[in-house]
Symmetry: C2
Subunit: 118 residues, 2 copies
């Protein structure tokens, strides 16, 4: 199972709409980095509204993929972090430093376009 | 396996990035109609760039979901129809009447916004 990555202008949009298993999360990490390279995307919005539980492995993969994307020159916006997910991330010490967050996909995309407009 | 449906303002975006099996196609049909109802979406963009083969069942489901969406008041734009898919659709007599098509997701979204702007 793979997570579809949509290209919209110079951004990539991802909506994760089910709980991720470890294999899917790693596949997603690989796919996203490959897609950033392939499309020269400048920004990425990852919407996790539908995820209301996150384990330590998935949290680590998510943190990693954000840092990897930044290394490749793409800004990342995470949208729709649920209360329980926020609690888990902080309790696990995953800081998501310098990551822009937003309430939902459209806010995330607006914020990203603002950031990229600078 | 379900196909994620992204909500962006008053449109829904779907990118189908693998061959659909029958069960997934029917699940997608149900999910999309439900999501249109739930979000009061006025437009739908379905990107099928990654599909380079389509069988008669999937073609029928696709034709049906377009007509059903229209009944529910949502305009549908199909983007990224590959040559082989276009050939199959016409040969199967699936006309996709009044459906707007476009080359890729961003063109599709632009066309949809134009249509909805009227």
């Amino acid at each position: 199972m793979r997570i579809p990555i949509l290209k919209l202008r110079d951004c990539l949009l991802i909506s994760i709409q089910w709980e991720l298993d470890d294999q899917t999360a790693l596949q997603f990490q690989e796919d996203l980095l490959h897609k950033i390279h392939q499309t020269s995307a400048r920004g990425v919005v990852i919407d996790i509204t539908s995820i209301d539980f996150i384990d330590s492995f998935i949290a680590k993969v998510l943190g990693d993929v954000i840092n990897m994307s930044k290394l490749m020159g793409a800004k990342v916006v995470i949208t729709g972090i649920q209360p329980a997910v926020a609690i888990t991330l902080i309790e696990l010490g995953i800081r998501l430093e310098d990551v822009v967050t937003a309430l939902d996909l459209e806010n995330g995309l607006d914020k990203l376009e603002q950031e990229l407009g600078d």
